[in-house]
């Protein structure tokens, strides 16, 4: 290394920026090189009958090399690796829109990158959902030729939605952008790691999306063993893609936890910590507990496929995998919706100009949801259990509605006798509460073994979790995007277009997914592209509304994007929020707080006696 360091030029000479290849293209190029080199190495040296160029083992190792190549090519080679070995490099980040398409350490850029990556995943997986719904318009196979193609599409839809949207969009996107601002910090705790973790998301999405190239897989987003062992090799790309996505979430969580613990501005005590930061902290802890568990499970499954280890067949039983999966799988639901709860409690006090009711109970609710989430997993397996085993899981599952209820009570108490401004974010949040209520109520039914055994693996379940996840998370995500749009872009959206967007998705969402409950109760099974003819009319109609729902999301994306670029200049603090992010004028690439702010009061006290919660030294107190 020392010789290489000596060879580097001194920077007393003026630095001349080199023209480079677009980092995304270079990432792909290095990934391709990495794949070819390692794939060839493995397939040539590890004896396989017939010497095919791509074997399951070689594609696995090749993928890892490709991932490393991709991460290096995107800019970490100059910005992380060379400095780590003591080689002086100047890292010259691009400007303008280009900075979103390469490695960055600015938490605001990373936040936007995460939002965009998640949105991309959302629309890719949404397209898969549309293909499924089009197939289900008839009770026969017609769009897909093979059942495996349908099942693979279901799997791609679920996997990308859960691991690149549900888990990541709020935590990685808004968490990265808002949290450092909200706690008065200029950076997140580990900006370099954060910049790397982002680029795992597109890699993971593409890996899962292109899994059919290796063969169809039939397990859905849960990767069930030993079923997966019998699948063709596409399942390998499922495991690898999910590994990349979960690794990204894990790194985000480490970063956010450390940021919230160590980077708070003076005066920002735990009692004053904004509720969204509490939500992010809770979710990050959930991630830190459960993601390593599921990552190990997926690695074992990958080994079961690639190395033919009998982990889930000869030694274990099919239940082994189910226990391991759902031990993570149920907390995952709370990983998805807890940020949603936090957003309700963050946005509505601002919109209603009223102090947050029972703020501490809101925080306790979030923490208790986190604590209980790991005690309910077996309700996914009531059909595989003895009766006396069901009771505790049924009990804990219904228990979880209590801390969830805190979130509702806090928000309802806040709204009580308030002058609520019915802006687009407000409407989205109220819709999110309504939808999540339906998801929660049907969840209580499903926690009850009697009904669960009846509705198991029907569309009733599908309806239930789409109500909790789209209803709870996607709606509050949209609300948050509208709410923070002036902060993110400095521009304002068109209120009328926003409200139309909200009503559009709300109506089509509810018409689509209420019918899932009815379909389920009538006997429509999950995981089948072909069903009994008497269900066809309803499925046909559901598919039409599902497509309208998809267009509704597209509409909202376009409204937000248009406002981002062309919207009128927004006021600095259009909603009159008191949290710290509104005190920072920083667009991307600049420092959030040139002078460290000091927190002197609660962010959520409104009314006659309310005072500013933040003091900016040397500046006028009020920024409104």
């Amino acid at each position: 290394m020392s010789t290489m360091t000596a060879m580097e030029p001194e920077y007393s000479v003026p630095f001349v920026a080199k023209k480079r290849m677009p980092p995304v293209l270079r990432g792909f190029l290095w990934a391709a090189v990495g794949f070819l080199v390692f794939n060839t190495l493995i397939s040539e040296t590890v004896p396989t009958y017939g010497h095919p160029f791509v074997t399951e083992l070689s594609v696995t190792i090749g993928w890892v090399a490709a991932l490393v190549g991709w991460i290096l090519g995107i800019g970490t080679w100059e910005a992380v690796v060379k400095p780590a070995f003591g080689i002086a490099t100047r890292w010259a980040p691009a400007t303008g829109w280009r900075r979103y398409l390469e490695y960055s350490t600015d938490h605001k850029v990373i936040g936007i990158q995460y939002v965009v990556a998640s949105t991309g995943g959302f629309f890719i997986a949404g397209f898969a959902a549309m293909l499924m719904r089009v197939e289900l318009m008839k009770d026969q196979m017609w769009l897909f030729q093979l059942p495996q193609q349908y099942l693979t599409t279901v799997g791609i839809h679920g996997t990308i939605m859960m691991f690149s949207v549900g888990t990541v969009a709020l935590v990685g996107g808004l968490g990265n952008y808002i949290i450092p601002l909200m706690i008065g910090s200029n950076t997140s705790a580990f900006p370099k790691m954060s910049g790397i973790s982002l680029w795992l998301v597109p890699a993971g999405i593409l890996t899962v999306a292109f899994s059919p190239l290796l063969g169809y897989w039939t397990t859905g987003w849960r990767g069930y063993q030993p079923l997966a062992t019998q699948d063709a090799s596409g399942i390998i790309f499922y495991y690898l893609g999910v590994f990349a996505l979960t690794l990204s979430s894990l790194l985000v969580s480490i970063n956010l936890t450390a940021t919230i613990i160590f980077k708070r501005a003076p005066g920002l005590t735990w009692n004053r910590l904004p509720i969204f930061a509490w939500g992010m902290l809770t979710v990050s802890l959930l991630n830190l507990i459960w993601l390593p568990e599921i990552m190990m499970t997926f690695i074992l499954s990958l080994l079961a496929h690639v190395a033919q280890l009998p982990l889930f067949t000869a030694v274990g039983s099919p239940l082994t995998y189910m226990e391991l999966f759902w031990l993570f799988g149920h907390p995952e639901v709370y990983i998805v919706v807890v940020p949603g709860f936090a957003l309700w409690q963050e946005i509505l006090p601002v919109m209603s100009r009223k102090s947050l009711f029972a703020e501490k109970w809101g925080v306790i609710g979030l923490v208790f949801v986190m604590a209980l989430s790991g005690m309910v997993w077996a309700h996914h397996m009531f059909t595989n259990m003895r009766n006396d085993e069901m009771m505790p899981f049924s009990f804990f599952t219904e228990m979880i509605s209590i801390p969830t209820g805190f979130a509702f009570m806090v928000v309802i108490g806040t709204l009580w006798k308030s002058k609520l401004r019915l802006t687009t974010p407000t409407i989205f949040i109220l819709m999110s509460m309504f939808n999540f209520l339906i998801g929660g109520l049907t969840g209580v039914f499903l926690a009850d073994p009697v009904i669960n055994l009846q509705e198991h693996d029907t569309f009733f379940i599908v309806g239930h979790f789409h109500y909790t996840i789209i209803g709870g998370m996607v709606f509050s995500w949209l609300g948050a995007m509208y709410y923070w749009l002036p902060k993110l872009s400095g521009r304002m959206y068109n209120e009328k277009l926003g409200v139309i967007g909200a009503i559009w998705v709300f109506l089509t969402f509810n018409i689509t997914f209420t019918q899932f409950f009815i379909l389920g109760m009538k006997g429509m099974n999950r995981w089948v592209p072909v069903y009994m003819p008497y269900l066809q009319n309803m499925n046909f109609e559901v598919s039409i509304f599902a497509v309208l729902l998809g267009l509704g999301f597209l509409y909202n994306a376009i409204v937000i994007l248009h406002a981002w670029r062309r919207g009128p200049k927004a006021e600095k603090n259009p909603w009159g929020g008191k949290t710290l992010e509104w005190y920072s004028a920083a667009p991307e690439g600049t420092v959030n707080f040139p002078e460290t702010p000091r927190v002197v009061g609660s962010f959520y006290v409104y009314g006659d006696e309310s005072e500013e919660a933040v003091v900016l030294p040397g500046a006028a107190i009020s920024q409104r």
Binding site: G96, D106, Q140, S188, A232, L268
Partner: protein
């Protein structure tokens, strides 16, 4: 909590310690070519989507450009889950071919049928291709050289010649297409003189309720005139 981020600024010197975790930046912005980016990613997207939704199309294009060599002598034909390797072969009429048919799957039985057209059975999932309508091996002289782990060998109307009485000559004429079915790891070696049946023939594995064929276990044999 004391925080010293306040004094952080963009234009830091080379000293990495003071950047508060942020990387040093240079004043000169580096811009890469927008056109290169758009063309490059656009082309990759097109290739990717074509690969995803029209897999065979790309494979066919590449094969059309490179061509498949005519094979004679020993030809290895491997099967795995769920593919043939190769899945495209070219034989010339009159050549002598020794096919070494080998099942690589660790846990599944696979067979090798070859013919033209399909016998269809209607089902809820649409018509199922159960076997070939016209058997390639009809009247072809086949010499069995060697066999291990052969589960079932349907000879149909092929003229079988083998030096010994092999235990795998189980199923006789009238029980479906000519097809050796191999146990996991099994193999069979067949010697034939390519018959005068020029044209395009399909081969496939219909084991496990035709699931293997539906999962893509198929190939093409082209017989060219001598």
């Amino acid at each position: 909590m004391d925080s010293n981020e306040g004094k952080q600024a963009n234009q830091q010197s080379d000293d990495k310690g003071d950047t508060g975790g942020m990387l040093q930046r240079t004043d000169e912005p580096v811009d890469w070519s927008r056109r290169k980016f758009l063309i490059g990613t656009g082309a990759m997207a097109i290739v990717g989507i074509t690969a995803l939704f029209g897999q065979s199309l790309i494979g066919k294009t590449i094969k059309a450009m490179t061509g498949v060599p005519v094979s004679k002598g020993i030809q290895d034909l491997y099967v795995g889950d769920y593919y043939y390797l190769p899945n495209e072969m070219v034989w010339r009429v009159g050549d002598e071919v020794v096919v070494n048919f080998h099942n690589l799957s660790p846990n599944r039985f696979h067979e090798w049928m070859m013919g033209q057209g399909f016998d269809l059975t209607p089902s809820d999932f649409g018509d199922v291709k159960t076997q070939f309508h016209k058997d390639f091996w009809d009247g072809v002289q086949v010499e069995v050289l060697e066999g291990h782990g052969v589960d079932n060998f349907v000879t149909n109307k092929a003229i079988i010649k083998s030096n010994e009485k092999y235990p795998w000559l189980i199923t006789q004429q009238g029980q479906g297409n000519f097809s050796p079915t191999l146990m996991p790891g099994g193999s069979i070696r067949l010697k034939i003189k390519v018959p005068d049946k020029p044209g395009v023939w399909q081969y496939g594995c219909f084991v496990q309720g035709f699931v293997h064929y539906r999962a893509g276990m198929k190939g093409t044999l082209r017989i060219i005139k001598s």
